[in-house]
Amino acid sequence: MADQERRHDLETADDRILAGRAADGDVHAFEVLVRRYGRLMRVYARRILGSNADVDDVVQEAFIQAWRSLPTLTDLGSVKSWLMRITSNKCIDRIRRRRDEDDIADHDPGAPASTTPEGMWAARSLEDALSRALAGLPEEQRRCWVLRELAGYSYLDIGRELDLPSSTVRGLIARARKNLIREMEAWR
């Protein structure tokens, strides 16, 4: 079969096939996974990190880590959620490293960029409204909320990863929820 055609077949292959081939050393199959989930991993990383700054590096690291660990992945069909988990782990590493670096500065998350009413009106869907509301949250609230709701971490895990008492995490997430609900209900 022509190379071109086979490459096209790979693009439509399911995750389990691609992950299996990549686990066996097929770089082309891995490339299809990178193209299939790269964008999702990038928006996810951007959400956790809170900025664009390290997204390129973090997601690249996540893919390289994934390539190394793929031979040990037993449930190949779940490669997508596995990639997402690696991405959040890499983000947390990055956040910890950043914090260790600017310990002296006693990091000030700064005032949240408030979501303008115009911005909310321009939202096309509830998901879009949420995206915008989330961007307006203070950094710690947003980070804890993302790890809880998008990454599925427990309060305890979030506290451990971010060096916060889990009661603090709980409080931050409750505040984040209230803020998000207010913004979203206003949009509705």
């Binding site: 079969m1 096939i17 066996d24 964008r39 949420l130 709701e149 998008l150 929820r177 207010r182």
Partner: protein
């Protein structure tokens, strides 16, 4: 945050309950039923809002990813160059040679690549992971090749898997001295051939 007026989320609005409690209550699947929550109009409004928030959350990343621009080619190339340096060689498989002084071997990774190439030569299926079960480092030891595959919709599974089995036997007999006693094929899915859903739709699940 701006005050949007009437929507109350504080204990005063929630008959003494908190958003944190209500979130835990939703997490528990509202089980067991808490009458003091369920009978409070304020709580029920807040629960509905929390549920809307949750459902929007579960869709949000996919929605954002859909409008996210394609990453730059250079970024993708960077990943691929990096991983290409890390070869998966696996076990070393000896190849007998008439000259006793010569020591030849091929890697398990290259045998997997042979199996993959054999699979790619067959129309109507796509192979995924393959494993060589048996002590391949011992010349003459029996080896079973296990292959995971999907078959395209409308193709006969017995027919294409038989073609695959033959292709794998032939290729390994030609290129290696492995004593292949069986080629086990697991078809985990039947899917539409690429032409049918080629318009950029995601085939992942």
């Amino acid at each position: 945050m701006t005050d949007h007026g009437s929507f109350g989320l504080e204990p005063d609005d929630l008959d003494g309950h908190t958003i944190d409690e209500l979130s835990d209550y939703l997490d528990s699947g509202r089980n067991p039923i808490d009458p003091s929550i369920e009978s409070s109009p304020g709580c029920r409004m807040a629960l509905a809002a929390l549920e809307r928030l949750r459902s929007a959350s579960s869709q949000m990343l996919e929605a954002e990813a859909a409008i996210e621009p394609e990453p730059e080619e250079g970024w993708i190339t960077g990943i691929l160059q990096n991983i290409s340096r890390e070869v998966r060689s696996g076990r070393s498989i000896p190849i007998p040679h008439p000259d006793a002084a010569a020591r030849l071997a091929i890697t398990e990774g290259s045998v997997r690549a042979l199996v993959r190439a054999a699979g790619d030569s067959i129309d109507g299926l796509m192979i995924g992971r393959c494993a060589l079960d048996g002590d391949v480092t011992e010349p003459g030891a029996p080896v079973t090749v296990s292959i995971d595959a999907t078959v395209y919709w409308g193709r006969s599974i017995p027919q294409v898997t038989e073609q695959l089995r033959i292709a794998v036997f032939e290729s390994l007999a030609l290129h290696t001295d492995l004593d292949v006693v069986a080629v086990d094929i697991t078809v985990h899915d039947v899917h539409l051939p690429p032409q049918a859903d080629a318009d950029g739709k995601e085939a992942g699940r």
